[in-house]
Amino acid sequence: MIRITCPYCGPRDHQEFAYVGDATLTRPSDDAGADAWYDFVYLRDNPRGPHLEYWQHVHGCRAFVKVLRDTLTHEVLATGTAADDLVAGGR
């Protein structure tokens, strides 16, 4: 069981959340071309260790939450709102 601290609701079980995806990606410009869009839509790294990702507190306040999670240990290293910059060991 992973416990994720929602910036609004506090610590909640991950079953209240839906996984959204990689939070490190930047949306290309509309005219960036097919290759850039292919990368953005389909290609993902599969890191072992800390990974920045979006979750949605879908059964709770419905906010998007940014989560820094270790993909090896499932330890949640930091969480924040979607706009926050996260640093390991922070909130």
Partner: protein, 196 residues
Amino acid sequence: MAELARCSALAGVLEPGLHGRPDFRGPGIVLAERHPMSLVEIAAASDEVSGAMCEEVAGILGIRPPAEPGTATGTGRPRILWTGPWRWLVVEPESRDLAGMLEPAAGASRDLSHARTVLRLGGRDVRRLFMKGAPLDWHPSVFVPGCCAQTAMFHQSVLVDCRQPEVFDLFVARGYARDLLERVIDAGAEYGVQVS
């Protein structure tokens, strides 16, 4: 236009009676539907609009939406529950045009009276029942009157409002009301559930 009556999703389903096997103390859980209710969701999309909306809602209803996440204000006519950033649910037993009253306020409002079923659960074993159904801290020193929380209870999205130490209102989407009712009665069988 034809006159439309507010019809409970549990009409013909929620029958008074005792379910399960209470011990010598009697049923540990009492359950009733609160119906008909007025429910209006109010929402904004910025701090600025949210601030103006709360100000105007306080002027209209005499009760200010709570600033603190996971809390509720008002004693019931109405009660205002925090449901998300810049979003609240205004709730009261149906007696006036609540949606119409809130319409002029800043932000957005939406009448959800038809869209939710409200169950009131009480009794000495309600918190034990919640512990079986949802992964929150239900201890009476933590989830106190004035707290509300949205969670996944028995696998469904439910908004729980603590009204008194042993009295709670559960808000569930109308289409799931019957399923939640059955799960609550099943899970509460060991305590005895008195439906009224």
